[in-house]
Structure formats: structure tokens, C-alpha cells
């Protein structure tokens, strides 16, 4: 494992900087807090991108916390996959901070939001930068509790029960995960991922550990049939929170599963688990898409679309697992899954931000409230449409590249049966997005009340992320090259993908 001591020091910065900002933001009063949070956003995002640059220049980095080193201590670790997730969080997180600075107006909302949001950011960065099974659990706790508190901050009869249900599922998921970690430790005596390479899932004890680990993570990622908590929680939160939950938080537990399965799982375990995850993913795609089709409220439609898109992430497991046909195409399925996570993050954050702007302007978000907005809020509707292109997977968007690679990989690895699900999910996405956006291009009803003025920052932040989701398809070479750094597949396979 290459260890560049000079750079590895900086691995802790994306964790400590937002944590320090959260702490200071809870002490300071309004004017100082605004400046502090702007500085904290820049510092956090900047340090994340700096780590990305170091990993691109030097390869995977490792930092021994406390100077002990695994297995006694905890190691921070960053390779291509971690820094891509870190950079995704930096970009979306920066946009969320920008959006939230105009979205929240009351003193109480601001005092509640900023410390919790920076804590959520801390948890996400800490999760993407650790290589320790138990430390994953601690970071999941930071993420879940701050996310639940952010959903609950709005209060009222819709948000509070949604937050409580989210809390219960998140806690149950954490407990199951923790039980799995305990069994892994009982069997192997170590918690560091690199010391566990290929050792998870052997014997009855290993299989039980794996079942608990995976079950807990699936509940947190909202995979069918453990998805019921997601739509109410994501749709009833304030817009910047919805964006963070759908774009980033569900990716965190998915990331743990992706990272552990392709390094720590034994080949036999991965071969057994892969098809199960694929079937559940397929069911999630179909169920989420059909539910999205029947929603009459924009935010609920977007939330169900998140469920459907999460399903796609899990289709990579059966296609990329070892022994599934053409080996070079497995790596492409793996890359496609990561790329889908990135483009979905941009597109979904853009959609929730646009929905927040509409809710702010019209006061409602049912489909009839969209009437005439094509003329009256062109920037917001453009944001919704550009993000929609990526969700529908039309070229040249990031969503298209991801789903196209996944589709071809499924066929090349002789698993054509996933293809109808992938194509069907795309068609259903087109149906539910067009069904909603259609209303924006109908004429404004007579006697429609004037729109409440919307801060331009809300509209343009959403549009920027929508355009980014589109542009990811045109600039796909760099993320794919980054993902190849330290990937669990030979590097020359990725070169073929480029």
C-alpha cells in the first residue's frame, strides 16, 4: 500500500473542518454565522477536492490515526472510489450551502439548520474516508441522527411522523449492521477492510455476519422491500435537506456495501449475494417507477424516483461479480454503478431544489400548481428538465452513460435478463417526468395568483446542478480514470472502457 506521509496528513481535513464549523456555528449569532458557514463550506469543499488532487497525483493514501496503524488503531484511507464520493459531496454540498443561505429566512430555521448540516457533511466525509468496519458504524450514526433531526426541524403533522419512522428504520439498520460487525470481529479478530480482504462470508458464522451487515445497509439505502420510510421522509423535509438526503445520504450506505463486497467478501459470498441484490434492485426499479407515475405532488414524485434510481445501483452487483462472463466488462458494470451514483446525485439535488423554488413561489407543489410555470419560472423549469434528461437516461447526460455501460455490460456478461428492467425503468422514468413537466407548458390559468418572488440563488443553483448532470456525460473520462485508482479490477480493463 503506497503511503505518502506528506499528503496523507490531509485526509483528516475534510472531516475536521466541517465538524469545527458545525461546532462554531452552534455558538455564533446570525451575522457572524453566515460568514462562518460560507468559510466552512469553502474550506470543506476545498479540502475534499485537494484530497482528490493528491490521490490523482500519488495513488491511494492511508493515514494511521494515533500513529498505531491497523489492526490496533483506525486507518483513514482514500482511493479513487472514495475521492469520487468525496468530490461528489463537495460539489453537491457546496450547492446545498449556497441554496440554503437563501432558502432559510427565519432566525430559528437558520440556527437549527447550519450546525446539523455541517455535522451531516462531517459524517459523509468521514464515512468515505475510513477503512474500518466499526468506524463505518460510527459515521453512519453521525449521518443518520443529523439527517433525522434535519427532517424533523420543520415540525408539524407530516414531517414529524416521517422523521420518527426514518429514525426507527435507521436505528434498526444500524443495530443489524453493528451485530454483523461484532460477528465479523468474533470470527476474524480484525476490523480493517484491507486485513479482511476476501475473508467475509466463510462458514455459518461468516454468512450470518454478512446477512446482518447487508440487511442493515439495505434498510438504510431503502432497497425494496425496506424502502417505505424514504418517500415521506425525503418529500416532507425542507428543500435543501431533501436534496442532501436523496443525493448524498442514501449513497453513503450504498458505498459501504460497494466497498466491502468487492474487497472483503469472499468470491463465493459475492457470487451468492450478487443475484439477490440484483433481483431486489430490479424490484425497486419497477416498484419505485410505478409509484412515481401515480403521484400528484412533485416532491413525492421526485422521492419515489429516488427509490427507483437506487434500484439501478444494485443491478451492478450481479453483473460485476466474479465469474459472470467477460471479465473486462465486469469492471465496466462496477464503474457504471459509481457513475450512476454521481449523475443521480447531481440530477436529484437539482430536482429537489427546483421543487423547493416552485413550492416557495406557488405555495403548493401538486401538478396543477405547475401550470404556466414554463413561462413564469423558465430557469426553474429548465433545471427540472435538464435533471430529468439525466434521470430518463437520454444522451448525452451522465445518466445515459451510466445506464448504457450497465446495459452493455449485462449483455456482454450473458445476463441479458437485466436489460429489459434497465430499459423499462428508463421508459417509466420518461413517463413520470413528462407527465409532471407537461403541466408547466400548459397556459397559465386565468386568475392565477401572482408568484411569490423567488430568490434567484434558488433557481440558478438548481439549474447549475441540472446542467452538471447533463455535462457529466460529456466529461465522463476524468471520473472513470479516477475510479480506476486502486479499483478492485486490473487497471488495463478500464482503459478499454475509455
Amino acid at each position: 500500500m503506497p503511503d505518502a506521509a506528506s499528503s496523507s496528513i490531509w485526509l483528516a481535513a475534510p472531516v475536521l473542518l466541517p465538524l469545527l464549523t458545525a461546532l462554531l456555528a452552534s455558538f455564533t449569532a446570525s451575522r457572524l454565522r453566515a460568514a462562518l458557514c460560507a468559510a466552512g463550506t469553502l474550506a470543506t469543499a476545498g479540502s475534499s477536492l485537494f484530497v482528490l488532487a493528491r490521490v490523482v497525483a500519488e495513488g491511494p493514501l492511508r493515514h494511521r490515526l494515533g500513529g498505531w496503524g491497523a489492526p490496533l488503531g483506525i486507518d483513514l484511507f482514500a482511493d479513487g472510489l472514495s475521492v469520487l464520493m468525496l468530490a461528489m459531496t463537495a460539489v453537491i454540498g457546496g450547492a446545498i450551502s449556497l441554496y440554503a443561505s437563501a432558502y432559510f429566512t427565519s432566525a430559528h430555521e437558520r440556527r437549527s439548520f447550519w450546525p446539523l448540516w455541517f455535522l451531516l457533511w462531517t459524517g459523509l466525509n468521514a464515512l468515505f474516508l475510513t477503512a474500518d468496519l466499526f468506524n463505518f458504524y460510527v459515521t453512519l450514526e453521525v449521518i443518520s441522527l443529523s439527517a433525522v433531526a434535519l427532517v424533523a426541524m420543520k415540525g408539524g403533522p407530516v414531517a414529524l411522523p416521517a422523521a420518527v419512522r426514518y429514525l426507527f428504520v435507521a436505528m434498526l439498520g444500524s443495530l443489524a449492521y453493528m451485530g454483523g460487525v461484532a460477528l465479523v470481529y468474533a470470527q476474524t479478530g480484525v476490523l480493517d477492510l484491507h486485513l479482511l480482504t476476501g475473508r467475509l462470508g466463510e462458514g455459518p458464522l461468516g454468512r450470518a455476519a454478512l446477512a446482518l451487515l447487508i440487511g442493515g445497509l439495505l434498510a438504510k439505502t431503502a432497497l425494496f422491500p425496506l424502502h417505505l420510510w424514504l418517500p415521506p421522509a425525503h418529500s416532507s423535509a425542507p428543500a435543501p435537506v431533501s436534496a442532501a438526503l436523496s443525493a448524498l445520504v442514501v449513497k453513503a450506505s450504498f458505498y459501504i456495501l460497494l466497498r466491502t463486497s468487492f474487497s472483503a467478501f469472499s468470491d463465493a459470498a459475492l457470487a451468492a449475494v450478487g443475484p439477490v441484490l440484483g433481483v431486489l434492485g430490479a424490484a425497486t426499479v419497477l416498484w419505485g417507477s410505478f409509484q412515481a407515475l401515480t403521484q400528484d405532488r412533485l416532491k413525492l414524485m421526485i422521492a419515489y424516483s429516488t427509490v427507483a434510481q437506487i434500484g439501478y445501483l444494485f443491478l451492478l452487483f450481479p453483473v460485476a461479480m466474479p465469474g459472470a462472463g467477460d471479465a473486462a466488462w465486469q469492471s465496466k458494470a462496477w464503474i457504471a454503478g459509481i457513475f450512476h451514483a454521481l449523475s443521480h446525485a447531481c440530477a436529484k439535488a437539482a430536482m429537489f431544489m427546483a421543487a423547493g423554488a416552485i413550492l416557495h413561489a406557488v405555495g403548493r407543489d401538486d401538478k396543477n400548481s405547475l401550470r404556466g410555470l414554463g413561462e413564469r419560472m423558465p430557469v426553474t423549469i429548465s433545471a427540472l428538465a435538464t435533471a430529468g434528461i439525466s434521470i430518463m437516461a437520454l444522451p448525452p447526460s451522465g445518466g445515459f452513460i451510466a445506464k448504457w455501460m450497465l446495459l452493455v455490460a449485462a449483455i456482454r456478461t450473458d445476463q441479458w435478463w437485466w436489460a429489459p428492467i434497465m430499459i423499462g425503468g428508463g421508459l417509466l422514468a420518461a413517463a413520470y417526468i413528462f407527465r409532471m413537466i407537461r403541466y408547466a407548458f400548459l397556459s397559465t390559468p386565468d386568475g392565477a395568483p401572482p408568484l411569490h418572488p423567488v430568490p434567484r440563488r434558488l433557481e440558478f443553483t438548481a439549474l447549475a446542478l441540472g446542467l452538471l448532470a447533463l455535462a457529466l456525460g460529456l466529461a465522463s473520462v476524468f471520473p472513470i480514470a479516477v475510479a480506476a485508482i486502486g479499483a478492485p479490477f486490473p487497471e488495463n480493463w478500464f482503459m478499454e472502457a475509455l
Binding site: F27, L116, A209
Partner: protein, 233 residues
């Protein structure tokens, strides 16, 4: 989806329990296959104990070998206190006037509580104890004082500073160690013992205050709901 149901029908609970039973049995079967002497890191911990600054292995693991986990756990506790404070604004649940009997009782108990908490904190270095246990005892004392009406919680800057103190000191020590050794939470030279004691002392105060905040906010919230005639969702 958006209209929550208050209760799950009993037959659904029974069905769920029945469905989970095979999973429980499978889990028990798996655990029974656990090796009689599971491999663990006890030998590593024992070997490195002299470098840890403390003589109790639990404290060495929590504050030194895996101090980063504890840093994030302290952040979680702080988050719980902060969330309770922001999600349930409103007046304190403590009585407005000090309760004479409880005040008298507290006059006797307070020194004992403080001394016990202080001892448990110090004892963490060489026997079971430390910030979490000491903080709970301190928290119990604070709750008693609040029930007696001697302290009333208000979301003031002072309280916010107190809640964040443990985390702030932990971060400060982490950054200080980083600048001296180049490794986060690698306490330089022989400073392990005093670094750990400093972190634990600050954490004890914050944990006590967090527990008081949770108690006060929950009781205030349920009392105000009862006044409004609202039932629990």
C-alpha cells in the same frame, strides 16, 4: 404514505414475529458455531499498553488506540443535545420556585455526587470508569437540581458552550497532536495521560449537560402537549 397510522394491528405484529423467528434461529445456529477462543486483538492491546498513558485497557482502546471513534461518538452525543435544544424550543420544565425538601436533600447529595463523578473520571485511567460513567453521574445530579427548581435550562450561549465543550477540547487536542507528530490523535511524547485526562474531563461536563438537556426538553415537550390536549402520535 403521508398519512401515518398510529398503531400497527396486532395480527401484523404476530405475523412479523413469526416471520422473524426462523431468522433468529438461524442466527443462534450461526453463533453456536463461534470458535471457543475467538481470535482478537487482546494480545496487541496488552503489548502496546505501556505506550497508551493509562493502565486500564478499556480506556486505552477508547481514548487512545481508537480515539477517533470516540471523537465521532462525542460528536453524536453533542448532536443529540443540540437537536433536542433546537427541535423543542420553549420554556424549561423545571419548577419556577425551588422546592424546599428537594433543595435540602440536594444540599446533602451534591457534594457526594460531585465527588463520585470526579473519582470515577480519575479512576478511568486504571480501572473501569471514565468520562461516560462520570458524565452520567453528573447528569443525574443536574437533573435532580433541575427537579428541585435550583437550575432552569435556557438555550443560552452558556449552555451551548457547555454542550460543545467536550467536542471542542477533543478537536483542539486532535489538532494539537497533529501539528506535533504529523498524525491525528497521536499524542506527542509522554503526553498521553494528560491529553486523555483533559479530553475526558471536558467530555464529562458536556455529557452531564447533554443528559440534563435531553431530560428537560423531553419533559417540557410532553407537558406542553398535555396542556394542549394533544395525544402522542
Amino acid at each position: 404514505m403521508s398519512a401515518p397510522r398510529a398503531f400497527i394491528p396486532r395480527w401484523q405484529c404476530a405475523l412479523l414475529a413469526l416471520g422473524l423467528l426462523p431468522l433468529l434461529l438461524a442466527l443462534l445456529h450461526a453463533v453456536s458455531a463461534m470458535p471457543a477462543r475467538p481470535p482478537n486483538l487482546a494480545a496487541d492491546v496488552t503489548a502496546r499498553m505501556p505506550d497508551s498513558g493509562v493502565t486500564h485497557p478499556l480506556t486505552a482502546v477508547l481514548l487512545n488506540f481508537r480515539g477517533y471513534d470516540t471523537l465521532l461518538e462525542i460528536a453524536v452525543l453533542w448532536l443529540a443535545g443540540l437537536a433536542a435544544l433546537t427541535l423543542a424550543p420553549g420554556a424549561s420544565a423545571a419548577p419556577l420556585k425551588p422546592h424546599p425538601v428537594l433543595t435540602g436533600l440536594l444540599r446533602v447529595l451534591a457534594p457526594v455526587i460531585l465527588m463520585t463523578a470526579g473519582y470515577i473520571l480519575w479512576a478511568g485511567g486504571f480501572r473501569p470508569g471514565g468520562a461516560f460513567q462520570a458524565g452520567s453521574i453528573l447528569g443525574a445530579g443536574l437533573v435532580l437540581a433541575s427537579l428541585a427548581g435550583l437550575i432552569r435550562l435556557s438555550p443560552s450561549l452558556g449552555l451551548r458552550l457547555g454542550l460543545g465543550l467536550g467536542l471542542a477540547v477533543f478537536i483542539a487536542v486532535a489538532i494539537w497532536s497533529w501539528t506535533h507528530t504529523g498524525e491525528l490523535l497521536h499524542f506527542p511524547g509522554a503526553s498521553d495521560k494528560w491529553s486523555i485526562l483533559l479530553i475526558e474531563s471536558a467530555a464529562t461536563i458536556s455529557i452531564g449537560l447533554i443528559l440534563l438537556t435531553l431530560f428537560d426538553r423531553l419533559t417540557a415537550e410532553s407537558e406542553s402537549n398535555e396542556k394542549k390536549g394533544l395525544k402522542r402520535p
